[in-house]
């Protein structure tokens, strides 16, 4: 319940839109109820007046009820249309509000606070959750509010005539609107959960089958895949058959309850009319009124389904939004940096939830203008170094000084201005090449963009595209090869023009020839900058002023590449290992 309350509070700025839409929905339902009930009463009273002869005829006011009938019909048409326009308008406004709210909560968390949510899978589920929450207003809030109000008003109308009729109508609407859907949901819950599991298993099997089709076929598993697919399909259909039974039961039950309500109201009303407590023209009004009243609860079974979905979505969204900030950001102006040297003394960094230090007492010094490589195997702490520098993660102890000031004293945004990063994780947005470049420098002129592309050896490719800079990359556009996307990252780094260049395994995942070309094309970018080259390969090390070898979060060796090779320590072990046993890459 508190999740909904919070959601409503979030939506508070749009309360008028929300209530306006709901009231129009209420009006639509009430005018249908009015149209049917009044028509029934009108026919009967007109017939009675006709039977009464000229005396009653002259007393009968034909125009008022006739105008009422027409007015209800017109109101219904207009309010129905307005209701849909307003509720949808409100939905979009709420969605926009929700997205920017969620983004503003997410932004300070990234990346340290989102560590558990790193995989694209979970992020896309969160985004889908936002879209699900979007249903809250249209499919949950409005139907429940409208059903509740309409039930009270319509029963209230019946109460003018007889309390027992009002109570009967109220009970029937409540039972069909609340009890029936809840029962159906309870009955279908198990099959529903089983179905979700089966479907995700089916998806895994199919994705496996598609991505690994070559291996599956050559190992003779083709028929097996077909067999498994058929089996899963049958299992899913079996659950669906059960769910169809339940949903059939609920649909049939709903219309049966509506009919039964008419029946019971008749049983209750007939003695009243027969006994003269109520007028004869009231009976058709009751009958038609009850029929019209059930429109109020028609949307509730669906609303219950969405209720469960939105509750889970809201819970997930709020739990992310409520994550504590991983560490406080420094406020105020950044310290003045004269020379951007880096000095690390006995630095310890441990990731939240981890048992081990990722950096366990690192000592190293990088003078401004020098080119330094950090070499190490997976898990040695290389990337943690980059995370430390960019203030993505905080260090727990030791001294980390940049330009003579402790890293902690820099507001993260301002510290990052010193660094351009090229890494395998550099993200390409699914938009134009231009927008991807402008991320690095929002006010760059077109000419500047082309220059950066030229320096990144990507100019001729972009020129060859019919849309040039406006070529869309990624899904729905031109797919860039691994080397090309990495070059976009170089172009961004050029545009950013920062004093430091951090290369975080920049060529990882590229094929060997592309890798060599890529590293070669990085050279001009390195000129005149302080370079931190993080790698687990020996390629390109000879061009560095200094090489640090990292092992288990500590610097175990340092010197120039040639010195280290001669020394016979870790690095030469790597080199013989690679060249003797494995051999370098040739193609």
């Amino acid at each position: 319940m508190s999740d909904y309350w919070r959601l409503l509070k979030l939506f508070f700025p749009y309360k008028f839109w929300m209530l306006g839409g709901a009231l129009l929905a209420l009006l639509t339902i009430l005018s249908n109820f009015g149209l049917l009930a009044l028509s029934g009463w009108f026919l009967a009273s007109a017939a009675l007046a006709g039977l009464g002869g000229y005396a009653t005829l002259n007393l009968y006011n034909f125009f008022l009820p006739a105008a009422g009938v027409r007015a209800f019909a017109t109101t219904r048409v207009i309010s129905r249309w307005l209701e849909r326009v307003i509720t949808h308008e409100a939905t979009f406004r709420l969605l926009a509000q929700l997205r920017s709210w969620f983004y503003s909560r997410l932004e300070p968390l990234a990346p340290a606070g989102l560590q558990g949510y790193r995989s694209g899978d979970i992020l896309s589920r969160l985004v889908a959750d936002i879209d699900t929450l979007n249903n809250f207003y249209l499919r949950v809030f409005t139907p429940f509010l409208v059903a509740g109000l309409a039930t009270l008003l319509m029963s209230g109308f019946f109460a003018f005539f007889a309390w027992r009729l009002a109570i009967a109508l109220f009970l029937f609407l409540a039972a069909s609107g609340l009890a029936l859907p809840l029962l159906a949901e309870r009955l279908g819950a198990r099959s529903g959960a089983e179905m979700t599991n089966l479907q995700s298993e089916y998806r895994v099997q199919l994705v496996d089958g598609m991505q690994g089709m070559g291996e599956l076929l050559t190992y003779g598993a083709g028929p097996e895949i077909l067999h498994r697919s058929n089996r899963l399909n049958d299992a899913i259909l079996q659950r669906q058959a059960k769910m169809a039974q339940i949903s059939g039961l609920s649909t049939a039950g709903m219309s049966f309850m509506g009919n039964l309500a008419v029946w019971v109201i008749l049983i209750l009303a007939i003695p009243l009319i027969h006994g003269g407590h109520l007028g004869p023209s009231d009976l058709p009004m009751f009958a038609l009124g009850v029929m019209g009243s059930f429109e109020a609860i028609v949307a509730l079974p669906l609303a219950f389904q969405f209720l469960g979905q939105t509750r889970q979505a809201a819970r997930r969204i709020f739990s992310v939004a409520d994550s504590a900030l991983p560490f406080p950001d420094a406020s105020g102006p950044a310290p003045d940096v004269q020379k951007p040297d880096l000095l690390l003394e006995n630095v310890h960094l441990r990731y939240p939830g981890s048992q081990q230090d990722a950096l366990a007492g690192v000592n190293l010094q990088i003078k401004a203008g020098s080119k330094v490589a950090v070499l190490g195997a997976t898990g040695a702490g290389k990337s943690s170094l980059a995370n430390l520098l960019l203030r993505f993660y905080d260090y727990q102890s030791g001294t980390a000084q940049f330009g003579g000031h402790e890293l902690k004293s820099f507001p993260a945004d301002q510290l990052r201005e010193f660094f351009a990063v090229v890494s395998q994780r550099s993200y390409l947005f699914h938009t134009t090449i231009r927008d991807n470049l402008l991320v690095a420098k929002g006010d760059a002129e077109e000419e500047e963009l082309w220059k950066a592309l030229a320096a990144a050896q990507l100019e001729s490719f972009v020129r060859s595209q019919p849309d040039g800079l406006d070529t869309i990359v990624g899904e729905g556009g031109v797919k860039l090869s691994g080397g090309q996307s990495r070059r976009v990252a170089i172009a961004r780094a050029i545009l950013k023009n920062a004093p430091w260049l951090v290369l975080d395994e920049p060529s990882e995942g590229l094929d060997p020839i592309t890798e060599m070309e890529f590293l070669r094309d990085l050279q001009p970018l390195m000129a005149g900058r302080t370079v931190l080259y993080i790698t687990h390969r020996l390629l390109g090390l000879e061009q560095m002023d200094q090489v640090f070898i990292l092992d288990e979060g500590r610097v175990v060796e340092s010197g120039t590449y040639a010195e280290l090779l001669k020394k016979g320590g870790h690095l030469s072990h790597f080199a013989t290992f690679r060249n003797g046993v494995v051999g370098e890459k040739i193609s």
Binding site: L35, L36, L43, A44, A47, G50, F62, P65, V69, A73, R76, V77, R80, W81, V85, S100, Y103, E107, P111, L114, G120, L126, I130, Y202, D208, G212, M213, G214, L217, T218, G220, G222, N233, A244, Q245, G248, T251, S255, F256, L260, W263, I270, H274, L283, L288, T378, F392, D413, R416, E417, H430, V439, D511, T514, M516, L539, F577, E584, K585, S587
Partner: protein
């Protein structure tokens, strides 16, 4: 406009598969509709009796009991209808899923390489699912939408021809205007829908790129952009939706107004001393008026289902229409051989016209020898391997097995039994490690499994897992490293032990220790067999018996390591360039 219609026709053709069930469902719906008329008839009698003939509860009780019985029957019909509708769509869904998967398997991995596997999976699951409402709701409703109103007209006309006329005239106007407004609205809706997808994709994009945005100090600006894009989207969508909603307004307009019209006209005629209509007639007609429009209301709801079904069907038929490669009838007389040699003559292949991947490749792969394929990326190494695997079919030229049998005359299933393929990034499948190694050798015992794993340097780490060989791949999460996956794939190949091996040497994502183990296992696997290795490392090529160097879809040169070095061609330059680069 013509496209949805054509897809409609194709869908209805699929519907023939369960014609009987569909008709049965329509029959149930029709019966339920006719019972509504009977129900209105009884109700009108009860109300008329009480209000105008002064009858008490006891007098109308038999009618009330009859009405209650009717309700029960109607509920039963509605429930049965739901089940039948499900049955009708279920067999179509099963059929389509099986067809899709069969077709995809026949197309093979290279033909579907461009298709995103997640997309194919959701087409097969949700896409096929989206067809259900089309068969279970939309089609039956299409039939009922004409039958039930017609039945009501037949009943109303003899009772009161003026009301009958009002219904007769207003009824057809609803579909008419809905088509008029609705088709335009449909186009608008579909455009908007796509835009909405883009919108949510954009948000995902921004969230995924948050770290990159932060590095560039632009993460905070994005809040505004997210809000602005949402707002733009709202404005343009609402413009479209305001029109689209007119569809339902039109239905409401005719339905509500004609009920009002019927009521007012009946009321006016009842208000006469010798009225031409009785209250009974008037009330009976008034009860039927909303029912007359109800099927139309249902139709407009299920129209939405039709739209999503058509979108899904489009994708389904796209996959089913992907052409299968033409294959000559496989010869029957191919028998397993212990030794395999391959001769390739003038092989040409283009993925798309004008882009030759293989441009006249002629090469030999002698039996019992290891041949390395060497070349830069895009030279045609993978395409050649795919041709030998039978995943792509050459446009020209031929591959001869053991000197005489053309490859495309061999049943692929038989051919695949003779070889093992280890790609660069092997895939482990949902299931246990044992299942994964046993693939294609379901009857292999644990001893054989351990032997294969041992040969592939995989035994040690597998047995270190808590569940050993029974560890489930899915549960391990990121537990297995790239090198471990490679070694399991090699164990799989060891277990199969066929006469021909085709391997794509792993390069990326292996740390140094793993790399050595993987390469060592690979060397031992292919020793003394016919093996084709796509080599990325000098050492691998050096150890091969024979090297084929590809360049731009052609064989540039071939020979042993020493011969090629001596020849001073492409290979020699490659080796020299590389050795120059790394100062060893």
């Amino acid at each position: 406009m013509s496209k949805p219609v054509r897809i409609d026709q194709r869908l209805m053709q699929e519907g023939r598969r369960t014609r009987g069930t569909l008709y049965f469902g329509i029959g149930l719906g029709l019966a339920a509709g006719l019972l509504i008329i009977l129900q209105a008839f009884i109700l009108a009698h009860i109300v008329n009796g009480v209000s105008f003939e002064g009858l008490g509860l006891a007098a109308v009780m038999p009618l009330l009991w009859a009405m209650l019985a009717l309700f029960v029957v109607r509920a039963g019909l509605s429930w049965a209808g739901e089940l039948v509708a499900f049955r009708a769509s279920a067999s179509i869904k099963s059929y389509l899923r099986e067809q899709l998967l069969k077709h995809l398997l026949q197309l093979g991995p290279v033909a579907i390489a461009g298709e995103r596997s997640a997309d194919i999976a959701s087409t097969m699951i949700e896409g096929v699912e989206a067809l259900e409402p089309y068969f279970s709701r939309y089609l039956p409703q299409m039939a009922l939408v004409s039958l039930i109103p017609l039945a009501i007209l037949v009943v109303v006309f003899p009772e009161d021809w003026i009301s009958g006329l009002i219904l007769l005239i207003t009824g057809p106007l609803v579909p008419f205007f809905m088509v008029l407004v609705g088709y335009a609205a449909e186009a608008v809706n579909q455009r908007q829908w796509r835009k909405m997808l883009l919108m949510s994709a954009h948000f995902l994009d921004v969230v995924q790129g948050l770290t990159t945005l932060k590095i560039f100090g632009r993460a905070k600006d994005e809040i505004e952009i997210v809000a602005r894009i949402s707002d733009d989207y709202r404005r343009s969508t609402m413009a479209g939706l305001r029109v689209a909603f007119l569809t339902s307004a039109v239905l409401e307009f005719f339905a509500s107004l004609s009920i009002a019209l019927v009521a007012v006209s009946l009321g006016a005629r009842l208000l006469q001393v010798h009225a031409a209509v009785t209250f009974y007639t008037a009330f009976f007609v008034l009860l039927l008026a909303p029912e007359y429009f109800n099927p139309l209301r249902g139709l407009s709801t299920h129209y939405h289902a039709r739209m999503s079904a058509i979108a899904a069907a489009k994708r389904i038929f796209e996959i089913l229409d992907m052409p299968l490669p033409e294959k000559p009838q496989p010869a029957e007389d191919y028998v397993h051989s212990q030794e395999i040699s391959l001769v390739i003559r003038d092989l040409c292949f283009a993925y798309e016209p004008g882009r030759m991947a293989l441009d006249g490749v002629t090469a030999e792969f002698p039996a019992g020898k290891v041949t390395a394929l060497v070349g830069s990326s895009g030279a045609g190494k993978s395409t050649l391997a795919n041709a030998i695997l039978g995943f792509v079919h050459a446009d020209k030229g031929e591959i001869l097995v053991n000197g005489q049998m053309p490859l495309n005359a061999i049943d692929p299933q038989l051919w695949w039994r003779q070889l093992a393929w280890v790609p660069q990034n092997p895939r482990l499948f949902h299931g246990s490690i044992a299942d994964n190694i046993r693939m294609g050798q379901a009857d292999a015992d644990l001893a054989a499994l351990r032997e294969a794993a041992k040969n592939a340097h995989a035994l040690e780490f597998i047995e270190a897992l808590p569940q050993g060989f029974d560890s489930m791949i899915g549960d391990l999460g990121q537990g297995l490293s790239g090198g471990q996956i490679q070694r399991i794939a090699l164990a799989r190949a060891f277990l199969k032990n066929p006469p021909l091996f085709i391997l794509d040497e792993a390069t990326a994502n292996l740390d140094m220790e793993n790399e050595a183990l993987v390469l060592d296992a690979m060397q031992r696997l292919i020793q003394g067999r016919t093996a084709i290795v796509i080599a990325h490392r000098l050492a691998t090529a050096e150890r091969a018996d024979h090297i084929v160097v590809l360049e731009a879809g052609r064989v540039a040169e071939s020979g042993s390591h020493q011969e090629l070095l001596a020849a001073g061609g492409v290979y020699a330059r490659m080796v020299a360039a590389y050795r120059g680069e790394i100062h060893v």
